[in-house]
């Protein structure tokens, strides 16, 4: 409601801007403008005329080129560090390239090789499962946290900053601390489990415990960040909706389900997409969590994600062509996710 109202006021403003530019052209055209003056003054009249066209040409060129000059730095950087690597990676992915060697044409063999590789499917499955284990609880908790923070609490400002603290921590520092906590022999978590009467869990070499431990790091780090995004969205929900709901006798929970959630649906969709992209690219946490085996994702590749497989292929075994193919497959996966998001958003808009 609020956004659509703002959109109409925005839509009304565009007709105004064309007015200001009009005063500018006349002064430049003015000197050389009158036709008669040129014939009367002879050569003397041509000088201002030619300087006028030169100036106006300069001015027009200036008007046209300046915006490009301003955006050029970004596009130059993008071309150098974004577009070129992207294309070059694509080129590499069609070759057999050994680190330190020459490239040999290979066509799509790297891609068909991935299709046949159990390591690739294992990494894809791990990326998916870790993504689900980390993203779903993380977003649910963020939603709950944001709802709580939306109340009038004492020390609300402090709490809002506090939930963001994990996000400000470096991945390396957080992961190293968590790796200590989850240490199978001396870790705090196994000690606590021991007091409660459970057997120690092998948090690194068993598949699911390791994936859960890594997901815990991701959840810890990103929940507060998502909570703040939700909180911002919740604060834009008009208060009268809640008033109307409470007049109708809706409980707090009912208000949360029927007013808050539908109102912030676009934001939820946004965080889902961003978290999914983050999960697809998960790299630092499993790598550091696994210590010297981090790049392989443990001795049995039990927590090797796609990014880790790509890194291992590229820098450990030196198969740059295969690593590039993985990079492109990841790009295609992300585009697919983006497409799905677009589709869902469109359906969402049509239903509302």
């Amino acid at each position: 409601m609020a956004t659509s109202a703002r959109a109409t006021t925005d839509g009304a403003s565009p007709p105004d801007p064309p007015a200001p530019p009009s005063p500018l052209p006349p002064p430049t055209r003015g000197p050389g403008g009158p036709k008669g003056s040129g014939s009367r003054k002879g050569s003397g009249g041509r000088a201002p005329g030619s300087s006028g066209t030169w100036r106006s040409r300069l001015y027009r060129w200036d008007l046209k080129a300046t915006p490009y000059a301003f955006v050029a730095p970004f596009f130059l950087c993008f071309a150098a560090f974004g577009l070129f690597p992207l294309i070059y990676t694509g080129w590499l992915s069609l070759h057999r390239v050994e680190l330190g060697g020459e490239a040999q044409w290979r066509g799509f063999d790297n891609y068909t090789g991935l299709w046949d590789s159990s390591f690739f499917w294992n990494a894809l499955a791990n990326t998916f499962t870790i993504g689900v284990i980390s993203t779903v609880p993380q977003l649910l908790m963020a939603l709950g946290l944001a709802h709580l923070l939306n109340y009038r609490l004492r020390g609300r400002g402090f709490l809002r900053v506090a939930v963001l603290a994990p996000y400000a921590t470096s991945i390396a520092a957080a992961t190293l601390v968590f790796a200590q906590l989850f240490n199978s022999d001396y870790g705090l978590i196994n000690s606590v489990l021991g007091w409660v009467g459970f057997d120690p869990v092998d948090w690194e070499s068993s598949k699911w415990p390791a994936q859960i431990a890594i997901s815990v790091i991701v959840i810890w780090r990103w929940t507060g960040y998502n909570a703040l995004i939700y909180l911002a969205a919740m604060q834009a929900v008009p208060q009268d909706l809640y008033e109307a709901a409470s007049l109708d006798g809706a409980s707090r929970w009912r208000q949360f389900i029927s007013v808050t959630i539908p109102s912030i649906r676009p934001t939820i969709l946004f965080t889902v997409v961003v978290s999914t992209i983050g999960a697809t690219q998960l790299f630092g946490e499993p790598m550091l969590y696994g210590g010297s085996l981090g790049v392989s994702g443990g001795s049995g590749n039990q927590f090797q994600t796609l990014s880790l497989l790509m890194y291992e292929k590229g820098w450990i075994t030196g198969a740059l062509g295969q690593a590039s193919a993985i990079a492109w497959v990841m790009l295609l996966l992300l585009l697919l996710i983006g497409g799905v998001r677009l589709l869902v958003a469109r359906l969402n808009r049509e239903t509302t």
Binding site: R55, L58, Y59, D62, T66, A69, A72, P73, L76, C77, R96, E98, L99, G100, G101, G113, S117, S118, F119, A179, Q180, N183, S184, D185, Y186, D202, S205, S206, G291, S292, L293, V295, S296, S299, G300, N301, W315, I316, T317, G318, A319, G321, Q322
Partner: protein, 434 residues
């Protein structure tokens, strides 16, 4: 007009500034090579801890050559250092004047990067006769160019804890301990079983099965490759035998189920939870660091069942360097027998220069932390018996996956040795298929 011109010039300046800013990084790291005082700056790129700086070798060199300044950079782990070195070599940029190469990578560097490296065999001050012949050959190309000078080698011994041995009813004297398993790794396994039967609570005989595997494979001439450069680890009986013995340590429950060079392994040194570890000369310093002062005189060094080598390094001089002659001179000096002997004395890196082995600093060396063990005598004898291992370009990948994928699964997850072997082979096949 003036406003326009000024505006235009302002923009031109802005554009110029933008161009300058984007171009600056390229200009910023332009050719260096001299410090303000006009001395030559030589850079040395290393991995891990070579101890040159700590042993005072750079200071000694700059005293001999006051016109030289040495700057060292070091990356902790070779897994991170080596790929970077390869990319730098291929792109001919970012290289230090002198670079280190681990023994396990030297075959690949010699085979594929020799054109980009100086021939140090002919550098002034280098005497071929000073070096162990096999070490020299490992960095020599087919056409006779020696691109790397050997720094240290890794002859192996077995480090053991006297207190745990005494409590398990085993001898504690280093010669008697060495005799327990002399000649055969199976006797080492047998000693492990004896230890297990009377083991002090909470301790194991050996740190890890993969450590045993590395130790045994380091003792055979033909390992992962044969003379023609074919990968033969799968069918090589020596590798299979090493695998079986090491796996027996895991299945018999003789290991602490650790992985080497991880924090847990370090903590186990501090807690004293295993009684023996196969230790190359360079590992003594590591044990001393991790076991700490509390374990002084507790650890001792005995001869390994069979002579074997683990690790060691080379120095190479890239051709793209600005001071190739000076860099070659430095590399030659650092690897000369006198300096290698000093490094052994201070840091425990065993000289690859056989000429240094007879020097009193090496031959008579004792290690106070390890109960004054005569490490000079022990490691010199081990070095003499080391076979000349045939190296191949992908030794690292094969060794690492056998240890960290295959044997670790057997050791830590209790998989059957056969399954562990299959998992390792699968991973290696995948890794060797580029």
């Amino acid at each position: 007009m003036r406003a326009l011109f000024r505006g235009f010039r302002g923009r031109a300046l802005l554009v110029a500034a933008v161009v300058a800013l984007t171009a600056a990084p390229a200009a910023g790291c332009g050719p260096g090579g001299g410090d303000p005082a006009g001395r030559t700056v030589l850079t040395v790129g290393l991995f891990g801890s070579f101890g040159y700086e700590e042993a005072g070798l750079y200071d000694a060199y700059t005293r001999l050559h006051p016109d030289v300044v040495i700057k060292q950079t070091s990356i902790q782990r070779n897994e991170n250092y080596y790929p970077q070195l390869l990319t730098h070599l291929v792109s001919d940029s970012g290289l230090a004047d002198v670079q280190a190469v681990e023994a396990i990578n030297i075959a690949e560097v010699t085979a594929t990067q020799a054109d980009r490296l100086e021939d140090l065999g002919r550098a002034p001050g280098v005497r071929r006769a000073d070096f162990l012949p096999w070490k020299w050959r490992q960095a020599t190309t087919r056409d006779g160019r020696t691109v790397g000078l050997g720094t240290d080698i890794g002859p192996q011994a077995v480090c053991y804890r006297k207190d745990l041995f005494a409590r398990a009813g085993l001898p504690t004297d280093r010669d008697a301990v060495g005799r327990l398993w002399a000649g055969d790794w199976r006797r080492y396994l047998g000693t492990g079983k004896r230890y297990r039967d009377r083991a002090p609570a909470g301790t194991s005989f050996v740190d890890s099965a993969s450590g045993v595997l590395s130790a045994i494979t380091g003792g055979s001439a033909r390992r992962y490759y044969d003379e023609d450069g074919t990968v033969v680890y799968k069918s090589n009986p020596a590798v299979r035998e090493a695998w079986d013995i090491a796996a027996a340590f895991a299945t018999e429950g003789l290991t602490a189920r650790l992985q080497q060079f991880t924090p847990s392994w370090d903590q186990a040194y501090a807690n004293g939870t295993f009684a023996t570890v196969s230790c190359p000369a360079w590992m003594l310093g590591y044990i001393e660091d991790k076991a700490g002062p509390a374990a002084e005189d507790v650890w001792d060094v005995a001869a390994a069942p069979r002579p074997a080598n683990w690790g060691g390094s080379f120095l190479v001089v890239p051709k793209s360097g600005r001071h190739r002659a000076e860099a070659a001179r430095l590399a030659a000096w650092l690897t000369a027998p006198a300096q290698q002997a000093r490094l052994f004395e201070r840091r425990g890196s065993f000289p690859s220069a056989s000429a240094a082995h007879a020097l009193p600093a090496v031959a008579g060396a004792r290690h106070p932390y390890f109960g004054d063990a005569p490490i000079g005598r022990i490691f010199t004898r081990a070095a003499r018996g080391v076979p000349v291992t045939i190296l191949g370009p992908k030794d690292l990948v094969i060794a690492q996956n056998l240890a960290d994928v295959g044997m670790l699964q057997v050791d830590q997850r209790g998989r059957r040795p056969e399954d562990g072997w299959d998992a390792a082979v699968r991973t290696i096949d995948n890794a060797l298929d580029l």
